[in-house]
């Protein structure tokens, strides 16, 4: 009962805040109901694209968790253990990707820029995909994860990495559907994800750089 209150109280506060913001939003802010048929169609198309992309994310998340569940779990634990570091690293990494992309784009006339830009793009996309799946796992564990061993043993379905990832996709996907706030939340999750992917080296727990030790003998 207390857990239910603990879960639903913040959700109620968030929902109330959103409703208040939507009512208080000035006209033309983009949250009002569609008036014409064209607006309704555009809104429906937008929602359809978002839900279709969510389905793709769901398939990608399930596949990646089946292939490397341990790594995803480790990254998820790291995100929950040092969230601020992951977020800071994600912000710096996204900025670095943008600046490096400009530098590589600058080098395109010298023939070396294009392959470097392609490699950077692939690395950034892989970081985002892996990191977002780790975010799904973290959110699923926070929302529906077992708190005690008894609770874990009682559960038949709502346990394991796969279930946590699926719940995370559902929760973040539902938030993504909220106008204006949704893309911002998704963007924050992406920054968190990229930071976590890089902080844990894609869950492999290896250092990025070799440590230099001075041998005095």
């Amino acid at each position: 009962m207390r857990r239910a209150v603990r879960l639903f109280l913040p959700l109620t506060v968030v929902a109330a805040t959103l409703v208040t913001a939507m009512i208080a939003a000035p006209p033309g802010f983009g949250v009002q109901a569609p008036n014409t048929m064209a607006e309704t169609t555009a809104m429906l198309q937008k929602t359809a694209v978002i839900v279709a992309l969510l389905a793709v994310w769901m398939i990608a998340a399930v596949t990646l968790t089946l292939l490397s569940g341990r790594e995803i779990r480790y990254s998820s634990v790291e995100m929950r253990a040092s969230a601020l570091h992951c977020f800071a690293l994600g912000l710096v990494a996204v900025t670095s990707f943008a600046l490096t992309a400009i530098v590589f784009s600058y080098l395109i006339p010298y023939h070396v820029g294009l392959p470097l830009l392609f490699a950077l793009g692939v690395f950034a996309i892989l970081s985002k995909i892996y990191g977002l799946v780790a975010v799904f796992h973290a959110i699923g564990t926070l929302v529906a994860g077992s708190r005690t061993r008894e609770q874990l043993q009682r559960r038949h379905w709502l346990r394991g990495d796969l279930a946590m990832v699926v719940i995370g996709v559902l929760v973040l996907g539902a938030l993504r559907l909220i106008p204006i706030v949704g893309p911002i939340i998704w963007g924050f999750a992406s920054v968190f994800g990229i930071g976590t992917a890089l902080a844990t080296k894609f869950g492999r727990r290896e250092p990025w750089f070799l440590a230099y030790r001075l041998h005095l003998s």
Partner: protein, 147 residues
């Protein structure tokens, strides 16, 4: 007995076991240690320990996973059908956002090329600072619990 013999016994009790018969001090120390080693360790209540992240993680609830995935795909297909969109259009829309990003980078590069040398140097300094900061942050080892 001499202190040397006691020292040899303390360094290697098994090889110098005969020393115990001649030295009362070492015999007392040995007896005290034997008494201490007889103490049973406190029983550990497994259920009182916090849940480890890996416990139950390999469980795969296929009905839940397949059910939710099927529902999400069905809703997506129904919405696409209602909006008159094909899956190709959805793929195109995601590629359009990537093209927009590419256009943004191209515009930034063109601006950088036409900018003054001071701005180009400032950009280079910002590039070095951001990547230096990234390297510093990447050097920190992960702190999460053992997964």
């Amino acid at each position: 007995m001499t202190e040397d013999a006691c020292q040899r016994y303390l360094e290697d009790p098994e090889a110098n076991a005969a020393h115990l018969q001649t030295c009362a001090g070492c015999r007392a120390v040995s007896a005290a240690l034997a008494e201490k080693s007889d103490v049973e360790p406190a029983p550990i209540d497994i259920n009182a320990l916090p849940l480890a992240p890996w416990e139950g993680s390999s469980h795969r609830p296929w009905p839940l996973v397949l059910g939710i995935t099927t529902v999400v795909i069905a809703v997506a297909l129904a919405l696409c059908d209602a909006a008159g969109l094909s899956p190709l259009h959805v793929a195109e829309s995601s590629l359009t956002s990537m093209e927009a990003m590419r256009g943004l980078i191209d515009r930034a590069t063109a601006s950088l090329r036409s900018a003054s040398i001071v701005w180009q140097i400032a950009f280079g300094v910002a590039f070095l600072i951001v990547n230096g900061l990234l390297i510093v942050l990447l050097r920190r080892s992960p702190r999460g619990m053992d997964a």
